[in-house]
Symmetry: C2
Subunit: 505 residues, 2 copies
Amino acid sequence: MSIEKWGMYELELAGSAEGNAFLDVKLSAQFRCGETVIETPGFYDGGGVYKIRCMPTQIGEWQFQTSSNLPELDGQSGSFTCTPPGADNHGPVHVRDQFHFAYADGTPYYSFGTTCYAWIHQGDKLEEQTLQTLAEKPFNKIRFCVFPKHYPFNRNEPVYYPYARDSAGNNDLTRFDPAFFAHFEKRLSQLLELGIEADIIIWHPYDRWGYAVMDEETDYSYLRYLIARLAAFRNVWWSLANEYDFMLRDKPMERWDNFFQILQEEDPYQHLRSIHNGDPAMNYDHTKDAVTHVCIQNWDVKRVVEWREAYGKPVIDDELEYEGNIPFYWGNISAEEEVHRFWIMVANGGYGGHGETYMHPEDILWWSKGGVLHGDSWRGIAFLREIIEQLPGGLTPLATVGDNDLFPHPFTRWFWTRVSGGVNGGCYLIYLGEHQQQIMPNYSKHGRYNVDIIDTRALTITPGEIKPFDLARMERQTYSESTTPTYYVELPTKPYLAVRFTEKG
Amino acid sequence: MSIEKWGMYELELAGSAEGNAFLDVKLSAQFRCGETVIETPGFYDGGGVYKIRCMPTQIGEWQFQTSSNLPELDGQSGSFTCTPPGADNHGPVHVRDQFHFAYADGTPYYSFGTTCYAWIHQGDKLEEQTLQTLAEKPFNKIRFCVFPKHYPFNRNEPVYYPYARDSAGNNDLTRFDPAFFAHFEKRLSQLLELGIEADIIIWHPYDRWGYAVMDEETDYSYLRYLIARLAAFRNVWWSLANEYDFMLRDKPMERWDNFFQILQEEDPYQHLRSIHNGDPAMNYDHTKDAVTHVCIQNWDVKRVVEWREAYGKPVIDDELEYEGNIPFYWGNISAEEEVHRFWIMVANGGYGGHGETYMHPEDILWWSKGGVLHGDSWRGIAFLREIIEQLPGGLTPLATVGDNDLFPHPFTRWFWTRVSGGVNGGCYLIYLGEHQQQIMPNYSKHGRYNVDIIDTRALTITPGEIKPFDLARMERQTYSESTTPTYYVELPTKPYLAVRFTEKG
């Protein structure tokens, strides 16, 4: 048998279905390829079927051996061959360069996420339409919940429930429902095929079924079942919660810390781990070791540099408010404003998250149920993604860069609280937003740059020219000799422009 | 002789011109009308002429008597009659209702200021054009400096200098130049005739003549001379500085505190007193007793509620960035953004300050030199001013109002960090900015409101309708029964709208 690198090998074993195998059967395996060892838990999939999954991380021959407290599952061994990854398989995403991400093969990953919280609970027809939309649109990450959602615009019952239920709707929280997970994993695989990272939300407060208030042991058991089932999918990201702070009465801070610790100790692949706040004043302490990146909700995106500095990790503002027109203020900004906020995040070396919440006669809002997009912000986001993917790597905010060729002088930090700018090597991207200067001065020692003027609303890129600063005409317009620019670029007097400088090779 | 209430009575006396009368002669007068007493300093106006000015604050017969260390100025007495004020004379502006302003006759004063820092230094032709522009435009306050300005776009010499100079340009800081002040007061009077408050900036750092670095005694003497000459103009506001924090090396904090104290103790009319920062992190401590209102520079206008709460006084953001296209980021936002920021300030119970900085072939930028307006934000500001002047009084931000008919429920504060809203009595003004909800729900007990939908860009006001919240259609779209609205208003899905609710009488 052969499996491509970062693909999934699945071992299926038959065993006793007596008692409660979900709780009582311990099963794990050690997979080995040369020096590389992966210790991974297995899981009960119902009907006397047990499974162990492995995502091989190295090309070559892999051997494995199982351990179990059930004799028929113990000491099973075998092997498979791990082959080079397919062309679209770059492996799982991890943090790179402290504030950015890359796939395991080194390809940069720039996060352009969207949000469909409950899309996997909508039935095949709508779910397939969602997948079709995702295939056509620019998003390479999607945030969604394991549990169904009870919330405004979300009153429908899910098709599948994660736990067994009796006919009166009472949960048996000691028994998972394998049909739920088969469905979930099918969707996860489809996202993987589309090259979309799955930012899986493990808990959330919007619930009428009891999943939000499970006791501590049940929570831990649920988390471990997810690790056993899902960790071998390379596109998995763990998001402990949506709006964890609204659940603190039932799940105190210590429990969230424990969840992080379990993931850190037991996920064989160390998938990305984060947690998402509700109240902007309730950011989790993202400096904690187990948190791989910052995932926040905050409309005040010009604070991105502050968040980067406070946490020292990649920053994704996954809820910078959604494009839409519902009455809730987190869900009714204009398409232009959504794109504007994305630009501010990205030009400052952070990442944004999209959502869309337009009123719909059947309450099918993209942000929660998926379907099709009715708005326009995805166009501006697609345009931005293309521009970012042409950079040599993620941006470092100019606010935090003292020494650079274009903007080295002492006013630098001051400037970048008003407009947004980032740099990587000889590439600079400045987003001017509501600002509309007629010229953009710079302080380069050599001026050897190609310049592009980007209209983030018209979605056009026009070559500009870097010109020597004309002292005869302009010396009367600068602060002093020490802050006199060397070059400048002419711009149309127009807001929502960006300027890209690329140093000539 | 008769003088209208809040007009100016001027007593002129002849005296010795020997020595340095600016320094050596002490002169003051006591004006009395019944129980009302005004003690006011006089001043030397050059050429053996001394003057004492009085702004009578009460209708009736006024008696006065002078005191001086110069015998010919001492013990002079006389009287005048104070008559009722003219139709356009409402008296000086003071703080009212803690966070707002009113003229002395009780008429509300809503501050819609602009900025022409050095307009009085530009020569008659341009200055008269500036006055013509002010006569046609919506501004009822103007910020400007006593001293000339040296700065980008400001390299010209002033026509008048406040102090005597020799032919080599050396200042004699012991002798004021009466011609300068005669010119200054002429402009001040012209503003008064236009109904425009003069927010007089006493010091500023942008200087090549030596006025920014005068010693402590000279500073105090200058301040006292201004009080003696200018305090009797009813439209005077004292602004200690533009960007005082950039002058701290030469004028330590203690000196600024002393300036405030001198004004508080010696200005007979207690004109408004403020001070303006440069760095947004360097707000003066506006809680100090002598500060009458908050005057700040900050682009981040959604923080206005925070400033109101921190200082407990009226808040004017006099530099929320200027409409224009110069390279400096404080001077190149779009007209739309300028108006947007005004709305955010005003709907939250604060006030904004306008400025305009478009590149000009002769460096005539409104913000500093006056002239004509080239931009468009004044239109949106005029429209806003009309709307505000129809209110019963200044707005209290809904973020700080727990108990009100329309938005009493517990999410109130949360909402108002995203959109802006204020209330006065039964009048509510909500500015939605970048938000574009299709309906605006409210929680009124009775719903007896007239509603207007205001398009802040098209400058239109369209009657809306307050309708019972349609439970059959909408109950699935609210959080829970306790937060279900009672009424709502339909809106077009469009950003930059405001909604005005006026309770039916």
